[in-house]
Symmetry: none
Subunit: 252 residues, 2 copies
Amino acid sequence: MRLLLVEDDERVAAALVAVLGRHGFQVRHARSGHEALDALVPDGNDPYRVVLLDLGLPDRDGFEVCSRIRAGSGVPVIMVTARADIRSRIHGLNLGADDYVTKPYDMGELLARIHAVARRGAAPAAVAAPAPDAVPQQRGPLESRGIRIDRERRRVSVDGRDVPLTRKEFDLLALLAQSPGVVYRREQIFSEVWRSGWEGNGRTLEVHIGSLRNKLALPGLVEAVRGVGYRLIPESPAPAADQAPSSAPAEH
Amino acid sequence: MRLLLVEDDERVAAALVAVLGRHGFQVRHARSGHEALDALVPDGNDPYRVVLLDLGLPDRDGFEVCSRIRAGSGVPVIMVTARADIRSRIHGLNLGADDYVTKPYDMGELLARIHAVARRGAAPAAVAAPAPDAVPQQRGPLESRGIRIDRERRRVSVDGRDVPLTRKEFDLLALLAQSPGVVYRREQIFSEVWRSGWEGNGRTLEVHIGSLRNKLALPGLVEAVRGVGYRLIPESPAPAADQAPSSAPAEH
DNA sequence: AGCCGATCTGAGCGGAACTTGAGGATCACG
DNA sequence: CGTGATCCTCAAGTTCCGCTCAGATCGGCT
């Protein structure tokens, strides 16, 4: 049973490889998100049955890797991380992770959870390849369409011009910008930006979206998806082109 | 989306039913393991997509219920319990539970985990599969006959051309595309696409099917099965047998 | 306390999405 | 070939949902 381990700490990785190997897994070790995505491109070998994704150090990066994996493949993903806060858990699971395990974990439990998701396994026919180079992998501050989002300083600039945002506005933008193009459902947004379990009663979300749009002054950036939620429109509008024969230049 | 809640504490159950209901689940509440097992016997209704199994008081009983469930069905099970010790966790997971959540839990996280296992859906688990039309929910983008359905972006493209769909149209297509060739009964479609047990009075379904066909512009793709429902015609063969998820896209 | 910005709520508007109804087309079956 | 049931299309309603504005409440700061 093949397993993909994404872990940048060599020592942790070595230990895991040893243990997993002893339990019958054939482990491939990827040291970065990029390497992981490469490894997942179908190559005729057996597909991986599980991905163990450590979001250890490169902070936010791991979430994005998960989202990229999920954008192209149905392989089960278990996030392993030291980030134990509820927000991160919910976020990780909402991004498509199948399980979320926090360090320190019990090895036996981790194995049991690996087996649990592997048992479920994705339908073997993985459909499309993950989008490898379609969008360059972003590290550090997010940047797209001239918007720069600095998560640590909680600052946002558009074309170099600094845009002051309130807490909610920033959290909202940061969430949506995590995966441009992906639709975030209302409940999902509430559970990640507001205290979890809270459902907005009034027009709260719309109002904040409204003021965010005003401040950014980029018409069409934040799109409402009727009856579902919101999304950011990515600059490269076509994430759909896998085989690229005659990609009609039909940008609406 | 139907969910089976197994919980003997009425107050806890009532609270959960309320919250889950608000999040779009149609909850059936079983007060005992026995009742739960009864409820899981296939009866022609939609199968449950998730079982929330509280092993609260009847001590060991819950584990047995889980194992019985697993013996007869592939439905995903989440154990919810106050027993936080590692042994119980591992035991529960090894019995076939898909997740194991300990009290006190965060409601948002529980919801995220429910969605995670539901999303993963009933897999071709090795067990004696009861319902042939159990819905295999496949992940990642669906692709077949040049149609690409990206669920998280809610985008559909036909031969690279982007096709904007409304909510109902998209949900309808996504449902049918889960198992091309399989016939979905009207009631089943209504309960999946229209939440809550509501049977369309007028020609609602036909109209939506109609506009979906128009937008996709692929004649013969969506086929009506007289007196029963609708299905998608897979590109190549075998409408008959069990699930044969999307095969490799053959060139036309 | 008093101020001020941030957040929340409610009402009204407009437009998209959904539903309904009627008539025509098509199919299964005798 | 006739008949009834079922499905499709078209063209109205009707509801739902997101947007905006304005006012209320909350909370931090001087």
